[in-house]
């Protein structure tokens, strides 16, 4: 190695939220962090987003809750969690003390419930930001805030007034026009847009004539969804002026860099934590070299640096050689 990694500035800013580096771990894919503390050096992470909490405890969906697909994972966990009160009593003391930023993910069934949850959380210290999970595909009865731009905007606006937390809005790709929803969220005062949550999908066993998941349908994640996620990041980054956080199929430094170039200021690692528990730290460690490879000294220099003139197939200029050497 000829470069000094610490000559590269990895810090990023998501609106009012400052992160030491852009590698976060995604909600629902890192438990409550404590499960991972012996296997992952939490102090190396850009931040942790624990599993989404709801106001009341939820038992979650009946098994099977996940099923593997080609290059992916279909899940219908159903937001199994102990509820807000248990969270603040049982998990928050640990999480607030972690050596990295904490972004608490919340999901309300109604507008008012969302607002009240955030209001309650504001009484506690150690929370660096809130991620609004307006996009979980596994919760019936809940209003799907992220498929209605107006409802989504109103919710974020009210939450913005109700608390002082930086607000990340996590959107679903299961909509016709994700940019519209993102624009509404940005206009309402979100600090950043996180895309994507899982893609609604299904796996069946034809011999049994049954769906594989207890809940019938579920959300698809993992490497299989990366191109869709990348497309969403690209579209949303074009549509809004606030930072975008990329999520979907990221499992290596190359994956992460693709998202940065496409417009993500930070990324979240999800499913890859399951099959490579130390993946997040490996990506953090590989980041300085990757930035230096393209001559960047800080994250801003690569974020959104995708060039559209000509595809790689046409590119014969020297800037393409690094990618074309295979």
């Amino acid at each position: 190695m000829n470069a000094r990694p610490n000559s590269v500035d990895l810090s990023v800013q998501l609106g009012r939220l400052q992160l030491p580096n852009p590698i976060l771990v995604a909600s629902g894919t890192f438990g409550y962090a404590r499960e991972m503390e012996h296997i992952v050096d939490l102090s190396r992470l850009g931040g942790v987003i624990p599993k989404t909490i709801t106001r009341e405890p939820r038992q979650g969906n009946s098994p099977w809750r996940t099923v593997e697909t080609t290059g992916g994972l279909l899940n219908s966990i159903g937001l199994d969690n102990d509820g807000l009160d248990a969270f603040v009593e049982h998990h928050l003391p640990y999480l607030a003390d972690m050596p990295c930023p904490l972004i608490v993910s919340v999901a309300g069934r109604t507008h008012d419930e969302f607002v009240s949850m955030v209001t309650i959380l504001e009484k506690f210290s150690g929370i660096d930001a809130i991620e609004l999970n307006v996009s979980c595909p596994n919760v019936s009865h809940g209003i799907d805030f992220a498929s209605d731009a107006e409802m989504c905007g109103r919710l974020i606006s009210d939450i913005r007034h109700a608390c002082s937390f930086p607000i990340l809005a996590k959107l679903t790709p299961n909509v016709t026009n994700i940019s519209k929803i993102a624009e509404a969220a940005a206009a309402a005062g979100a600090d950043a847009i996180c895309v994507i949550n899982t893609l609604l999908g299904m796996v069946v066993n034809w011999r049994m004539r049954r769906p594989m998941l207890g809940n019938g349908m579920g959300g698809l994640s993992g490497p299989a969804i990366k191109p869709v996620a990348l497309r969403c990041v690209y579209q949303v980054a074009k549509a809004v002026d606030i930072p975008v956080v990329g999520i979907g199929g990221i499992a290596s430094i190359d994956d992460a860099m693709e998202f940065f170039v496409a417009g993500a200021t930070a990324v979240q690692i999800g499913t890859a934590n399951y099959y490579d528990p130390t993946v997040s730290v490996k990506i953090v460690e590989a980041l300085p070299d990757a930035l230096q490879e393209v001559g960047a000294k800080k994250m801003q220099e690569v974020v959104g640096s995708l060039r559209l003139e000509g595809s790689l197939g046409d590119a014969r200029d020297s800037s393409a050689t690094m990618l074309a050497d295979g």
Binding site: R34, I39, T66, E68, T70, P277
Partner: protein, 290 residues
């Protein structure tokens, strides 16, 4: 609805490494023994705990699979401390695993799960259905004081007798029989097709063993769920302490995905879904809502 809190468990000794395959040999029909070099895991792991294994640099299958500790192997001239797992070739992962040869690599993380508690008993009765026999060689070694496991090495008071009731589809699926015999385990076999031992259910064997021995017993059990349920019922009728090791499908093995839930009785009545990987895989049988 009141709900108890989810486990506070953390996999204290878990590490993740890329491990070299030292041995991958067939030991019975569709059954293989895999030995991988992983010193830290080998030193820390306890009977009833498991590891997650994944083919290195392969994304199909994407997700790792849990496999129970079969045996640890101390350092040899050729390799460092290793663990062994035994697996039945079943689907996507195990059929590819069976193709691995020496000096190839797997990704492994562990030790995971709670394992069997070292509660003393005069007579340890192990009940295994099919590939569910895998956790019991190491456990028998502990209870017969042939070997110690864990870091620090844990002490288990010696049982007067260790029995294995082992049921399989057919004679050719039995694995590890020699090792159990060699240890001095009292072995009772049954097959579904009558090709070896008792022609019938492993629970018949269990009933006989319990009738014939007057020592105080403790039952441990691993196998298909209907069989574990039947064993749990027998234990309950006779008021014998019984632990079952569940084989609930898992995605992460470490408590972060909430896939492997099983219905567990709550103290105040009712039940809640608990993660088998961090609250189990070993449960007191009366806790399980079958």
């Amino acid at each position: 609805m009141t709900k108890s809190l989810h486990a506070e468990f953390h996999a204290d000794d878990a590490t993740q490494i890329t491990a070299k395959v030292l041995l991958n040999e067939q030991i019975a029909r569709e059954t293989f023994r895999l030995r991988i070099e992983c010193p830290k895991i080998a030193h820390a792991i306890l009977p009833g705990q498991f590891v997650m294994i994944r083919l290195s640099n392969h994304d199909d299958p994407l997700i790792g699979r849990p496999l129970a500790l079969y045996e640890t192997v101390v350092e040899t001239k050729e390799a460092g401390p290793a663990i062994e797992v035994v697996y039945l070739v079943k689907g996507k992962f195990t059929s590819r695993l069976a193709e691995l040869t020496q000096d190839q690599f797997v990704d492994v993380w562990g030790p995971l799960g709670n394992g069997f508690l070292p509660e003393p008993t005069d007579h340890l009765v192990m009940v295994a259905g099919g590939i569910g026999y895998t956790p019991f060689l190491a456990l028998a070694q502990e209870y017969l004081n042939h070997k110690q496991y864990g870091k620090p090495l844990r002490n288990v008071s010696k049982s007067q007798k260790v029995t294995l009731c082992y049921g399989a589809r057919s004679a050719e699926y039995f694995a590890g029989i020699k090792a159990f015999n060699h240890l001095g385990v009292d072995l009772h076999l049954s097959t579904d097709d009558g090709t070896r031992g008792h022609h019938g259910l492993v629970t018949d064997l269990l009933q006989n063993v319990l009738r014939e021995t007057s020592l105080p017993h403790r039952i441990v059990c691993c196998g298909p769920e209907p069989m574990m349920k039947a064993v749990a019922e027998i234990a309950q009728e006779r008021e014998i302490s019984c632990q079952v090791s569940l084989e609930t499908p898992m995605a992460c093995g470490i408590g972060i995905c909430f896939t492997c839930v099983t219905k567990v009785q709550e103290d105040g009545g009712g039940w809640d879904y608990k993660r088998t990987c961090v609250e189990g895989p070993v449960f007191d049988a009366p806790q399980i809502v079958w």
